[in-house]
Every structure is written in C-alpha cells, then in structure tokens.
Subunit: 313 residues, 3 copies
C-alpha cells in the first residue's frame, strides 16, 4: 500500500488491500517480530465521538508495535466546546504525535484533517461516512476463513443505514465475490449504493428471506436492525424477529458457513450460535489487532520513507 | 499462588497470600529487578464504575512492570449503553489484552468474566462483592508493620456495609489474629459474616467503645461511616462523632499502634493524626503498587506457564 | 534550573529560564538523544479541570522521554466527589508516580500540593493563578524567532482576565523587552499587574489601537476576547471586531513580525493569516513538546540528584 493516509476503503485497490492483509497475516503469525518496531513513536487517538472497541483496538495495536498513545479525553470538555475548528485542533495535535486516528461525527472530517496535517491520518469513522479499518478487518476475516475470490457472501439486516455494510460491499467488488443482500423491504440497500455496485459489474442479488439463499453461503454477515429506524415499536419487533438467527436456523447452512457480525450484537444472533463452529464474530473483533498493526506499520513506514528517514531493522 | 484469576480474597489460602506478599516485599525492596519484566504485554483496565485510586494504582503497577494499559474510557459512552452483554464485552476485549482488571457495579461480574475469557481476570471490585487486591494490600501493610500472627487488630466504623472490612476479616482467619470489631449498634457486622468468622474458630469480639480495647491493639483499622446509612442527619452526626479519632484519642494507645484506613477519609481521622507515628494510611495506599505488581507478575507468570511459553529472565 | 517544583513563572530567574530554554533547544535539535531518557518513570497527570491541549502536550512530552503516564479519568467521578481533600489525594498519588502535573480550578492548588508531596509538582494551571509551562513555551517561541532581548512585543486582546498574558509580561521583565499592551478600555491590564511591571523598571505602554504601534513590533501576541466579559452582546461584537486581525491588517507590519496566540482561537485571527509567514501560533503550540520535555527532564534530574541517585547516560 503506497498511501499517506487511510480515509476510505474505496481508495484501496485490490493490490493495496492484499498488501495490508498479507502483512496482517505476518503479524498474526509472528507478533514478536513486530513488537517494539515503532518504539518511541506517539499516536494520537482523536475520538470526537464515543467508542470503546475501535479505540481500544487501535490503542492495543499501537502498543503491540511499541507506539505510545495520547488521547483527547472527554470530548465535551475539550477545546472543541470553545468553538475551535477541527482544522485548528488537528494542526495543533500533529505537533504532538507521529500519526492521528480520527473519529468524528461529521462525514468528511478525516478528509479535511488529512488536508491540514503532514502526519498520517487514519479515519476511524466519520459520521455516515467511512470506517475503512473495519472493512479491512472484515476482509481479513473472510480471507483467512474462505479466501476473497470464489466467495458467496450474504449480508443481512439493516442495509440502508449501515456504513460498515456499504464499505464492505464496495471493497468486495475488487474480488470475485457473489453478494446477496437480505433485509426487510424498508431497509434495502440505498439506490445509490446498489447502482455503484452494479456499475462495477459485481454480482448482486437482493432477498427478503434468508432461507432463499442460506445453503449457498460461505459467509453470513449479520448486522443489527435498530429500533429507532421504525416509527412503530410493534413493527420493529415483527421485522427484527425475522432477521434474527439461532443455532437451529443454521442447521440449513453449509458446515463451513462463517457467521460474522461487526458487534455489538443485541438479539440478532442468539447466544447458542456462540457454541457452534460457525461463530466467527469474536475472532473477527480480535482480527482488529493484527489488521490495525499492519495498517499503522504500513503508514508509518510510508511516512518515514517519504521523509527519507533511514530505518534499520 | 497457583491461580489463573483473582476473584475473591477467600479463594486464597494462607500459602497463596504469603507467596504474593513475599513477592510484594521483593518488589518493594528491589523495584528495578521487576522493571520491564513484562514488556510488550497489554493490560485492559475495564472500569464499569468510576474509580481514581484503584485504577491509577493498577495502571502504575502495570507500567512499573513494563506492561502497557488500555482503558475503556467513559463507560456511559461505551458499547455497554448499546445493550451489549458483559460476556460479549469481555470476550472482545480479551483479544486486545493479555489480562483484564475488572470493576463492575454487579456482584458476581468478575466471576462471570473469568468464565468467558482465557486471559487472567483480576476483580477490582464487583458491587457489594469482593475487592481482593485491597485485602492483599491491607494484609501486606499489617505484615510489614507487625506480622500477621500474634496480632491484635481493631476494626472500627461501618462494619455492616463495608466489603473491605468483610474481606479483611475473612482473610485474617487464615492467621493467628485476635479481631475486635468496634461500631455503633446499628452498624455491627452482619450476622452472616459474624457466623462465618466464628465457624473458622477465629477469636472475634465486638465493642461499641474504642476505649474498651484501644490499649491492647497492634493495628486500628478505621472505616468511614456514611451519612446515607442514617435516616436522620442529627443521629448520623451524633454516632459518627463517636467513631472519629484524633491525636488525643491515640494517647491511650500503644506507641507501636498502626492506624490504617482504606481512604478516602473524610472526618474519621483528624489531620493531626497524620503527624503522629501511628499514621500508616498513606503508606497503606502506596503499598498498592508493590502488591499489585506482585499480583500481576504472578498471574502473567502462571498464564505463561499454562501456555508453555518459555520465559527467560 | 535548580528547582524542585514548577509552580509559578515568577519563581524563575533569567538564568533558570535560559537553562530550560537552552535544553528545549537541544531537545528540538536532537530528540533522539532524549528518547527513553527516563524509561521506567511514571508521571501522574492530575487534571481536576478539563484540558485537551495542555494534557496531551504533557502526555506526549513525557512519552518522548520514555516516561509512562497515568491519568485521573473523569474528575466528577473521582474520590474528589467523595469529599477527599486535595492534600490527601496528592499524598496518595505521589506513591504511584515519580512526578505530578496538576491542573486545578483553585488558585494556590499547586503550591498546596507541592507542600505535601516529595516528588516534583508541575503547575499546569491553577484557576486564575499561574500556568508557567505556557509561559515557558511562549518565551521559547519568541526566543527562537527574535531573541528575548532588544525585543518589541505587542500583547493584544483581553488583558484584564488572561493569566497567560500576566505571566508572560512578568517573565519578560527579566529581559530587555519593550512591552506594548493593546486592548479596549474595559479590558486593560489590572492595576496591580501594571504596578508590578512598572516596579521592575520595565518599559510598558498601553494603547487602544493596534495601528499606533503595529509597525514597530517584532512580536504580536493575540488573545481572545470572551463574550461573557460583556453585559451586552452588541457591545461585545463591536469591541471584539476592532481587535481581530487578518492578512490585510498585517500589511502594515514588519515582514519579520511573528504573530502568536495561545490557542484555541475563534475569530481573533482570520484564517488568511495562516498562509502568511507571520503565523507562528501552531509552531508555538508545537513548542510545548520540547519545552515540556526540557522541564520534566530538568525536574526529574534535580529529584534524582537530591536523592543521590546515580544516573548513567
């Protein structure tokens, strides 16, 4: 990957993606070889929105590479509340750190940040926009379980609002993947996303019933249907119930089916699925570490190369 | 100590306790020998409830061993508020860290966590339950000042609600300790705790007046009487006032009396006691560092041994 | 600098200041020489008030020296809310750390803390009191751009309430600096500050119009005029507008004029100034790192010397 920043998953070519995932595999196979690799570096975790798992995952990945982290603390209490612009904030923070991880409620925030600073910026979620390291860890999980080509994947749940889903679907068009989208009528993929997928020539089909396609799937990617999307609570319960799976549901699936979920889950996947060999969502979450280590390693390496810094290892 | 987790003080035998406290003594005597001993390891500080001193103490102890820490941030803003179960949360976090320290408002939370993860879990307080590292640092403080056998200790204040007190009293039954409990009638030890103590054959006596027993004591362990335990504020002030000590109170005590308090204190111990040789509560708080270092060192060593990891030192 | 703590800028002689700034220059020139210099040390960041940039700057500076940090977390939730005194809190924390950085809403808090602990204390802001590391980074920025003698500086904006300004003005009296103060009548320097400056024999003049003095200035230090200082919002807008600068304003200035601001800025400096060579406020913020590294390095070195610790480098 020859990039200065990671802002969107769509900025990544197939080669870029494979380069990061190859490195993630190396990290997972031999973490000791990466321990302390960037000792003395400092990463700023700039979370303008709450996050537990993404922040902890980047924090741990950084530390596994020997990178120290500094955080913004409680955002309400920061300079932001004094009316400082995002560009001023990141221009100050770039002086404190060798790279920035940014989560912000506004779409486009990471792009703006990357325009104003000279250190690498990683987008860890910008509103309804992108969350590319999630996409990379999803791809890594699929790749380690099935490979990314000759893949039949079903993506189920809230396909209208989920940025995770849109990024993953777009990234999969770089590979030879058969994509099935399973959702209630009211939560179908947005027209624009559907259009973009078709434009790439990707094989895309939509369903309202999981059983129509379950037995063909290598991967079932489940997402949460949120109550607040429905004006009527009864309607929510009726619809959400149809897109919940349990161990019994999966009896109709291939033995090799990999079940994924970006987490946190609520009721979409019953606890009895955890005990099956299908359950891969905790492994998926754990893959955040090698993938984010590979990502930070790559971006810092690129930044050092750009500076002409000689790095001995 | 041959344990995978530390959930309760009562899980520890006399030998277990002495092994940890011996190591704590070694750490205190030669901290440099332990510096960086677990470099490259990551500890997750999972505080689902606010805490300053316990969290900072574990954080510092970890770093003194070369262990990096990752925190959960403000809990309200975490995935917890999206309705994720505790078992899901800890199963995700175990992928980010080599051990977990957990504080949670619900009794039994640490036990539950330990059942779901394969890395060591340390209970840093679970509601009305246990807080075993506090007990260990209390024992260490007593041991370094008087030894744990042939001990006469007075425990004073709110004996009804204080988990600190119940754990300490239980742990002391492993040793040859004479325990006196001093409290107002309304805040006596709960019947069940009293019963358990008597069952062990421990020597236990209860008093309402400190002066009945003060001159016999090696250690006086003071705890706070909380206003919210009393329906009537005047009643609170009358009672609490009787269980406050100052330098004058201690004139009737042995010169060697050690005064302890789990802190924070409010009015239970007057500031003029700080200037006396009796005052040991700051030393007690500081003992959190070597004791928690010894604890983390032991648990990580046990985990490595269980994994068959060869550790060169 | 032969000090145990850094509480106020006024405690520092010209020699003290120059010693720290010389070291800051060394740090900036060769950061690698300082990396890991204090490995194994722990710094407690005790922020009893929100702060983003000061906290992150100390955090990064510490880590650049190999020092680990521990924080207090959200202050409302700390022991403080249980009524613990500041002196008890810092006496506990000194057992967890090798030095303390303290921000507190009450003037005099850092002085109190320094009286109760035996590790170095750095005041990072105590209410309307002092914020000496800000003063040092301001001085460093001036020194690196113009030198501290034969200096003509204009300080503009809210001169009544800004502690930053009062500390800087006081520190500049140690050097041969010509100080101009530019503000609306209602926000002039307090009489006591003016008096103290005159007492030192410093050259001090006050203006209401920037244009009276702009062309003479080597440095223009801009501060924010806060809306809440004005009973009437229209009055605020009228006044604040007169003390805002943009690229056009600066056409009347020397080509070498250095424009500084403690940040965050709101409207006081228009974004088009960022593109000019005058803009030095981001560099000023970034100078927090070498200056705070030099400061922590000095205080820890002094503490080690006082302990008779032999330090090999």
């Amino acid at each position: 990957m020859r990039q200065d920043h990671l802002i969107t998953a769509t900025q990544l070519s197939r080669d870029d993606i494979e380069a990061v995932l190859d490195r993630a595999r190396e990290v997972a196979d031999d973490p000791a070889a990466y321990a302390g690799r960037h000792a003395g570096r400092v990463l700023a975790l700039c979370f303008f929105e709450p996050s537990t798992r993404t922040r902890m995952s980047f924090d741990s990945a950084a530390k596994r590479l020997g990178i120290d982290t500094i955080g913004m603390g409680d955002v309400d209490s920061s300079s932001v509340s004094k009316g400082e612009s995002l560009s001023d904030t990141v221009r100050v923070i770039e002086g404190y750190a060798d790279a920035l991880v940014l989560r912000h409620p506004s779409e486009g925030a990471a792009t703006l940040a990357a325009e104003h600073v000279s250190v690498p910026v990683v987008n860890a979620g910008d509103g309804a926009g992108q969350h590319p390291s999630q996409t990379l860890l999803d791809l890594h999980t699929i790749r380690e379980n099935h490979g990314l080509d000759d893949l039949t994947i079903g993506i189920m749940g809230d396909l209208k609002y989920g940025r995770t889903v849109h990024s993953l679907a777009a990234a999969l068009t770089e590979f030879d993947a058969n994509q099935h989208f399973i959702s209630p009528e009211s939560l179908r993929l947005p027209r624009s996303v559907r259009f973009d997928l078709h434009e790439t020539g990707a094989q895309v089909r939509e369903h309202t019933d999981l059983e129509d396609v379950l037995d063909e799937l290598d991967v079932l990617y489940v997402t949460r249907i949120q109550k607040e999307r429905f004006p009527d609570e009864n309607e929510y319960h009726r619809v959400a119930g149809e897109y919940q799976i349990d161990a019994e549901t999966l009896e109709a699936a291939s033995d090799d089916l990999t079940v994924m979920h970006p987490l946190p889950r609520v009721d979409e996947i019953a606890p009895d699925v955890d005990e099956t060999d299908h359950a891969t969502y905790f492994e998926q979450a754990h893959n955040g570490i090698p993938v984010r280590m590979a990502l930070l390693d790559t971006l810092l390496e690129n930044a050092e190369a750009a500076e002409g810094v000689e790095v001995d290892r």
